[in-house]
């Protein structure tokens, strides 16, 4: 048993020594983008950022209430001196969500095509969601050290499953008769995917994106343990020094971000389903 542990430990150490640099280089573009976004969000004058956020909130939700709530929350965050940390968190959430969509959407699509793939991927997703985050932080840190990229990877491991699951589910739930009709008119696989399956699965896919964002936010504190800047850092400090107020404020800022993201993405998702609202005989 001890030999086995030793074997795994040394084996992985050798692996990370051999390939660590190459893997790090692979993630460089992502790192550049993340750093650029973070710098932009932090360095740009705050009114400009606030206007951009307000516009995005409007485009997403078309609700004045949501826009006002968003602007109000960000003003409060700024007033309590959490602006910089919030922007750093916003940057990593944005990048990790985009990364999760870029990886998760294709996996979900392939999974929906093959029952065998589904039976292989599903348990992996289960592991990703339930294994304590600290456990996979170890190899990630061993491989890439402490910093933004390992943080990003840790967040993605945790936040990826919902988008994969819901893409798979959404496509599988598409009405069989509509698919049959698409076949009967001679659609190619690609046409069926882009004209029928993805559009009809979009509400579910969007619910997946929403969940992914929420889970990424939940990982913010743990990611800060391995060098990710943002709202997690003060929370971590508050825990180790028993600063109740500091922890509470930053915690609430994370909650505010979560609620804002949730409302905006949810109302956007609902708008996608507008065609389903039945208005007989209009």
């Amino acid at each position: 048993m001890r030999d086995l542990k030793k074997y795994i430990d040394f084996g992985f150490r050798d692996f990370s020594r051999a390939y660590g640099d190459a893997i790090e280089a692979f993630f460089d573009p992502l790192l550049y983008f993340l750093v650029w976004l973070e710098k932009f969000l932090i360095n740009a004058p705050w009114p400009i950022i606030l206007v951009i956020i307000a516009i995005l909130a409007w485009v997403g939700s078309r609700s004045l209430f949501v826009v006002l709530g968003t602007v109000g929350s960000f003003l409060l965050i700024g007033y309590f001196g959490m602006w910089t940390d919030t922007m750093a968190t916003l940057a990593i959430i944005t990048v990790s969500t985009l990364l999760c969509i870029a990886i998760g959407l294709p996996i979900g699509i392939f999974m929906s095509r093959s029952d065998r793939l589904q039976s292989v991927v599903t348990p992996i997703l289960d592991v990703m969601q339930t294994i304590p985050s600290f456990v996979y932080l170890i190899p990630v840190v061993m491989l890439l050290g402490i910093g933004k990229v390992p943080g990003l990877i840790a967040v993605c491991i945790y936040a990826l499953p919902p988008i994969v699951r819901l893409t798979n589910l959404g496509i599988r739930l598409v009405d069989k008769e509509v698919l049959e009709a698409a076949d009967a008119f001679g659609s190619s696989y690609r046409q069926k995917l882009f004209h029928v399956q993805i559009p009809l699965a979009l509400p579910n896919i969007f619910a997946g994106v929403n969940q992914t964002i929420m889970m990424a936010l939940a990982m913010v504190v743990i990611a800060s343990m391995i060098g990710v800047k943002g709202l997690g850092v003060p929370v971590l400090r508050a825990v180790s020094n028993q600063y109740l107020a500091l922890g509470l404020l930053n915690g609430l800022a994370i909650v505010a971000l979560a609620i804002i993201f949730d409302r905006i993405t949810q109302s956007f998702g609902k708008r996608l389903q507008k065609h389903l609202e039945s208005e007989h005989g209009v």
Partner: protein
């Protein structure tokens, strides 16, 4: 009506199960559907189906649920692969087509209308109707223009920008019909296309179809479980039971000479006076006096004329010339139900 054969279904078998090909020999040796299910856990869906569908006619396939009719129609455009058999369209075996050829066949030669409409809920009516054209990479404007004609023809003018969920069932099926017609395919496959509609709308849709057919002359394969519908629109009818064709023929042939008890039960409740024509029961004896009745008139209408005339016989004409005569008693006999149930009265439809 003599004309070329557009679609020929030859010795078609379809068995669902683990080893369908191995079951064929059992079926050919006369194993029953029930036995096959019990012994081999396989379902016999189609059993040696042979149907020849003439061009430009409406062929109805009729049967109760589970008779295999929806499975059969899906073989024509190969949404379902047969276990064995041939399917010849325009002299070509559809079953030997490669992937690309089959796709072209579905795009240009055979289009389909579905029982539950199967429209794309996220597309407008116009986009739905032009679906078959857009996937052929026809430019958006051309597709819209061609689709618009069909939208007008099925009477949906003004609804182009609506979504399917905003329309009633009857209107949605008009969209389904327009979508199938828009590709200019010569073969129209209609899988219980009007079965999900309520009776009045169903009749209305049958009228729409018949009216369009007068002008378009498509080869239509129409699936239904409703005998009235079958008799109303079918030039030829094939009755399917447990995957087996029990009778093929025109509506009159089926009504006057039902092949077995199953068919007899089927036709028991229909209004024969609305289906049978005078020509089927007239005799050649010439008559000099009396009202004239065209030979293709249905008996219901002929009875009204003859009873108004006060005579018991009428002259049957073809193209205005007398060719024979018919007697009122013979007419009544023909529309009376053939079996000897005592409580039979007129049936209403």
């Amino acid at each position: 009506m003599e004309s070329e054969i557009k679609v020929a279904i030859k010795n078609l078998y379809k068995i669902f199960g683990k080893n369908p090909a191995g079951m064929i020999s059992h079926v050919q040796n006369g194993i029953s559907k029930k036995e096959l299910l019990e012994k081999f856990d396989s379902v016999l869906a189609l059993n040696d189906v042979n149907i020849e569908i003439p061009a430009k006619g409406i062929q109805v396939i009729m049967g109760l649920s589970g008779s295999g009719k929806s499975t059969l129609i899906r073989h024509v455009n190969r949404l379902i692969e047969p276990t064995s058999g041939e399917l010849i369209v325009d002299g070509k075996n559809v079953l030997e087509m490669g992937k690309t050829e089959l796709r072209e066949f579905r795009r240009r030669t055979a289009s389909m209308v579905f029982q539950r409409f199967a429209l794309l809920p996220h597309h407008t009516i116009l986009e739905n109707v032009s679906y078959g054209l857009t996937i052929q990479n026809i430019s958006k404007n051309d597709a819209a223009e061609r689709s618009q004609q069909w939208i007008d023809k099925v009477g949906l003018n003004g609804y182009e920008k609506h979504f399917p969920s905003q329309l009633s069932g009857g209107m949605q099926q008009r969209v389904g019909l327009a979508r199938a017609l828009a590709t200019d395919a010569e073969i129209l496959l209609m899988d219980e296309a009007f079965s999900a509609l309520d009776p009045l709308i169903r009749t209305e849709m049958q009228d729409v179809l018949l009216r369009l057919q007068e002008e378009l002359h498509k080869t239509i394969l129409f699936i239904t479980h409703d005998l009235d519908e079958a008799l109303r629109i079918g030039d030829n009818i094939a009755i399917l039971r447990d995957g087996l064709v029990v009778q093929k023929g025109t509506s009159e042939e089926i009504i006057l000479n039902p092949a077995d008890k199953y068919v007899t039960d089927f036709i028991k409740d229909i209004n024969r006076g609305r289906v049978l024509r005078v020509s089927a029961i007239m005799d050649r004896s010439k008559l000099t006096k009396g009202v004239e009745i065209e030979k293709n008139m249905i008996i219901d209408d002929a009875l009204q004329i003859i009873s108004k005339s006060g005579l018991s016989k009428a002259i049957v004409t073809e193209d205005g010339k007398p060719i024979g005569s018919v007697e009122i008693g013979r007419m009544i006999e023909a529309i009376a139900r053939p079996n000897d149930n005592t409580d039979e009265t007129a049936t209403y439809h």
